[in-house]
Symmetry: C2
Subunit: 435 residues, 2 copies
């Protein structure tokens, strides 16, 4: 008989321990790869000054922000809020600590952020984002864009995912293209149409373009542009054709794209997993050059499972110093939810037994030897439970089977001989070991 | 020229990457030991229903609680708050999911909690607590109390701390003692005086006791009680003396204390690190049996660095089912701050170089081979940065020396021969390796 509603609040992902173990393993995999790539971990507070968070937020984000106040209200707790992403706090961090950081500053943040979105299946109000960013001072070579994408790829490749595809583009190519065809004035609307093109029939995108007061020829060029994809040479040839050879305005973007693509496709395991695709825009105004999204080829309906890009100036709201950056993010809470829905975590789940050993002393007298056995196994890096329960052995072995791969029952004989029988709880196989 | 105040809010611990690496290592050590002991990780939301959090909070905690609301206020975001500890959310979690949990449920939570405390040096408003708890259904054998304490000890023993001392007591001993000497009526005040006795001169504690309208003899017995410590036999003998052999009312508490102490002192590395000490009370009403605190023997002024105890019914606010538990917590944010102040993290800091290798390709042409070298080293579990910077080599090597233990410079010769020189950035030693 409950006295309170003990369910978590709507929009919160609360997992059982066995699910949590899978989630934690995926998070650890991502973190390991980020660290192997040389990214340094930082943690910023969850609570920030509201004016810092709202400096650029605007629109939906501003509506979704959680404000924070103390019950016993005092001046210093006014105007505080929960961060909604890692990027704004990172910008603040870089400005605040820039004298103590070695640039390029390769940084990772893996933690929860908060958005009071409308409650909806698969949308979460607290959600893990696994970000990696590289921040330069004044300038940052384009090869770092490839590095971030390679790192995100390697992180996702630790999951047992079916065929991944990383689609990359460059905002400068789009901007140069629209300048060349004389459609700069409508660039915001056009970018928006391209950004949504994948989710609607082609005719609908074309109709939307026609509403922008563009000539049929221009519409045709934009449609040809947004379906341009492939390796670098293919894309350059196609653009040359669409623009009748006038590549001046897209040259800088193409050169960046070429460099990023050639570094990535030179990585043997990525060769057939990376493509240039000019339909990739990334909604945010924020990005200025490279943009990328990651998909599962056989599950396109899932949408992008990670994304990122280049931003010319991370901290422009907070300082006049220039900190160009490139970063990527894996939205792990949503990804975990979706992969579960599509039963794509079966292998991880099958492998996820929480503990290695469960040791069951038959009486209090066997506790000292049980602790010796446990200490030895823990020193060998195993996860070891000692069950002190006083129920019948059958019930205790049932609990052990839910939690561990092996069980060791310790009676007076085992304590005396220091030899135990190790039972494999999956196969039933038994073996002996001396402690 | 900043446009905003970019410092973190008062009461927040924000670390530089090198400090963060030490912090993360300590957190990982604790987590590893908890997992080796068979505790399963869970994560509960940061935001909970305010009524759940306030069900028992009261007093200071209620004043310190952070309320949360969306800017675009709607019914469902009213009455939400940030959790102030792991225990209340754990109680909710156990009630909510009890049908899916295997009891005894051994659970760890390592994450931040929130308290809007008065800003004060060394007091934090967001702080990591590393909790381990064992929750039974209906009953929970006393040996689990020893297990929690042993686990906390082993977790702290992974730090390079000077002499630790775990002081244990049992609330039932205090309660039985006060009943025997006829001072039950003042038990709250007496517990409070004992709880603070360590921080004031003995005369002050005695004066405080005299104000409670107790006989001189009773005051003398209480003073003798609170200075009782040592191994089990010593403590039992002393109590027998103080109570003139009338041990009936303290028997249950003494038996529990005996069992916990004997299990712990049988652990070879703990033998001289654990003592019974009846001055240990733990302020919270919450505890019902075993209580413990951990100190550094040579730094008693730091106070307790971890603590915990037995609570008869975790979830009494939320259900009529009985879930007895025992748990402990390491307050890592404060501990990290204090250990830094006392320069007790020197060894960890010296060992904490963020990266293993920094690879410096001399031009874009060397990037493919640099990536091959990096991939090989990453597969060997090393943390490897590739520096694509275009500054002079000297500046790039300076950055490498701040971040990594080894540097590898890659020019056209290295790319051709696939042999590189590995420079130890600490000793200057050089060695060759083929990739």
């Amino acid at each position: 008989m409950k006295k309170y509603n003990t369910s978590p609040l709507s929009g919160m992902q609360e997992l059982l321990p066995t699910e949590q173990a899978v989630f934690d393993q995926l998070k650890q995999n991502i973190s390991d790869v980020y660290h192997h790539y040389g990214f340094l971990n930082i943690e910023t507070p969850f609570i920030e000054r509201a004016d810092i968070l709202l400096a650029k937020a605007g629109g939906d984000t501003e509506k979704q922000i959680y404000m924070v106040s103390k019950t016993a209200e005092s001046a210093d707790s006014a105007d505080q809020a929960l961060r909604f992403d890692h990027t704004v706090p990172l910008a603040r961090y870089v400005v605040e600590h820039n004298n103590d950081l070695a640039f390029p500053f390769q940084v990772t943040q893996i933690n929860r952020n908060f958005r009071g979105e409308r409650a909806q299946r698969g949308r979460f109000r607290e959600f893990y984002q696994c970000d990696c960013d590289i921040i330069g001072r004044e300038k940052l070579p384009i090869a770092y864009d490839a590095k971030v994408i390679a790192c995100i790829y390697d992180a996702l490749a630790t999951f047992n995912l079916p065929k991944m595809l990383i689609r990359i583009s460059n905002r400068k190519v789009l901007a140069g293209f629209l300048a060349t065809i004389g459609a700069e004035a409508q660039s915001g609307e056009i970018a928006n149409i391209i950004d949504h093109a994948e989710k609607v029939p082609q005719e609908k995108s074309e109709a939307a373009l026609r509403e922008l007061d563009l000539s049929e020829e221009t519409v045709a060029k934009i449609v040809a542009f947004m379906f341009t994809k492939g390796d670098y040479d293919t894309v350059e040839a196609k653009l040359t054709e669409i623009l009748s050879g006038k590549l001046e305005d897209v040259r800088e973007g193409l050169d960046e794209l070429k460099q990023v693509f050639s570094i990535l496709s030179a990585k043997p395991e990525m060769t057939d997993k990376v493509t240039i695709d000019l339909m990739i825009i990334r909604g945010l105004d924020y990005y200025t050059g490279t943009v990328f999204e990651t998909f599962l080829q056989d599950y396109r309906e899932i949408g992008s499972i990670s994304s990122g890009g280049r931003y010319e100036n991370l901290a422009s709201n907070f300082t006049e110093q220039k900190f160009p950056g490139v970063g990527g993010s894996i939205g792990l809470t949503r990804l975990f939810f979706v992969l579960n829905e599509y039963k794509l975590l079966a292998k991880e789940q099958a492998e996820s037994v929480p503990l290695d050993y469960c040791i069951l002393p038959m009486s209090e007298n066997e506790i000292p030897f049980a602790m010796t056995v446990a200490a030895t196994l823990r020193a060998e890096n195993f996860k070891v439970d000692i069950d002190f329960d006083t129920r019948k052995l059958g019930a205790r072995l049932n609990r052990a089977a839910k939690l561990a791969r092996f069980a060791i029952v310790i009676g007076d004989q085992e304590s005396a001989s220091r030899e135990v029988e190790i039972k494999n709880l999956t196969t039933g196989e038994k073996s002996k070991r001396q402690f």
